[in-house]
Symmetry: C2
């Protein structure tokens, strides 16, 4: 064989081998990342998860968020993995801050998770719709009583967002309000991502509304504002 | 120079050159794709855009979607770029299919865009909430009259999604219902992406609901179903 040709052949083989090894490395890395996050419904290389509601039953808070799990003998809540249990896990992953911008909060289980985190030292801020403060079962008053700062809009239009930002890093967004009806009845979606391109614009929107709603001084809602 | 070595060197140079050319090609392609979409608020390498409402005014449909623009002398609608005008553009980019799953549609401008596209041969399917068919100004009846197939839930719970899939490729999702109040009053968000990891799960959800709601035969809503 011509020695020029042999040289070229070796080099091509070297390139092919390194390409194959690189692809294998990428595959392993991707697989590892999926395993680390521990959910089969991750969808892309940045962490991403889509949840659909309704769930069949309300997930047991204790079972999914406490170290000891659920100790009730005949627990009426579900111990099966569900969209709500995934939401519990994401919320509980918050270490420093949880910023919530949700139209209505009547789900006691989700509110109790926030109170628990707040007691642990996680900074929580809530923006919600003014008119929904009066909704039957609104948890805003309990959350406010606990010391969690809450701000609301000051207009007849709706504060209709439904998003949460965890540790300035993870965004939870979709159609889902924090109500039991949304959990076990409605068709709803929730998209969870840590893609900085997405979270950064929602972080800015939260801060804008927080400051905007904090400067309002024309309504009785001030008693809710810090 | 050893001829083996020379052969290897030529091959390495060939690989480097093709790698450089490929990277340049990718860069041009990416740039082209961004330019085509024509929005400065794209956020990452997959096409991604976040829109926030309210807009100051309702965007002029004619100005943004027709070839001739708006011919009215004193148009009362806005000719400034806005969240709604961006939404118009994305909807109008549909070439083959537009699948809509929205709680309520009372915005006549958005409905008229759908009718126009339907007449052009774009396949449109709508899933909406049963109770919202009776909402004041519901556009569902006009859309249905035009021949656009509509399906609804058959329960007291809400079909509360607000997402659209364009050409099986682009997802529009968020808190935004198709109402004028949402456009110029409410705090709302819309996320638009062509990330296949996201669109594919929403496509599956749409199809699941379409089939599910199509098989219902216990209510008068059947007259709306195809």
């Amino acid at each position: 064989m011509n020695s020029n040709l042999r040289g070229a052949l070796y080099t091509v083989l070297f390139f092919i081998a390194s390409e194959v090894l690189y692809k294998l490395y990428c595959k392993t890395k991707k697989h590892k990342s999926k395993t680390e996050i521990g959910s089969e419904s991750r969808l892309s290389s940045t962490s991403l998860q889509v949840l659909f509601f309704p769930d069949e039953k309300v997930a047991c808070k204790d079972y999914f968020i406490t170290d000891n799990g659920c100790v009730k003998q005949n627990c009426r809540f579900s111990h099966e993995k569900s969209s709500l249990s995934e939401l519990y896990k994401h919320l509980c992953s918050g270490k420093t801050t949880v910023d919530i911008c949700v139209y209505i909060i009547t789900c006691k289980d989700l509110a109790e998770i926030l109170m628990k985190m707040f007691k642990r030292g996680v900074k929580i801020r809530i923006i919600t719709d003014k008119d929904q403060l009066q909704a039957s079962g609104s948890q805003i008053w309990s959350l406010r009583k606990e010391g969690i700062p809450v701000r609301t809009n000051d207009s007849s239009y709706l504060m209709h967002h439904k998003f949460v930002i965890i540790d300035n890093r993870v965004l939870i967004n979709g159609s889902f309000n924090w109500t039991y009806q949304a959990i076990t009845g409605n068709q709803e979606n929730v998209l969870i991502t840590d893609d900085d391109a997405v979270t950064s614009v929602f972080k800015a929107e939260f801060q804008r509304l927080w400051e905007d709603f904090g400067s309002q001084n024309s309504t009785g809602d001030l008693r809710l504002q810090e």
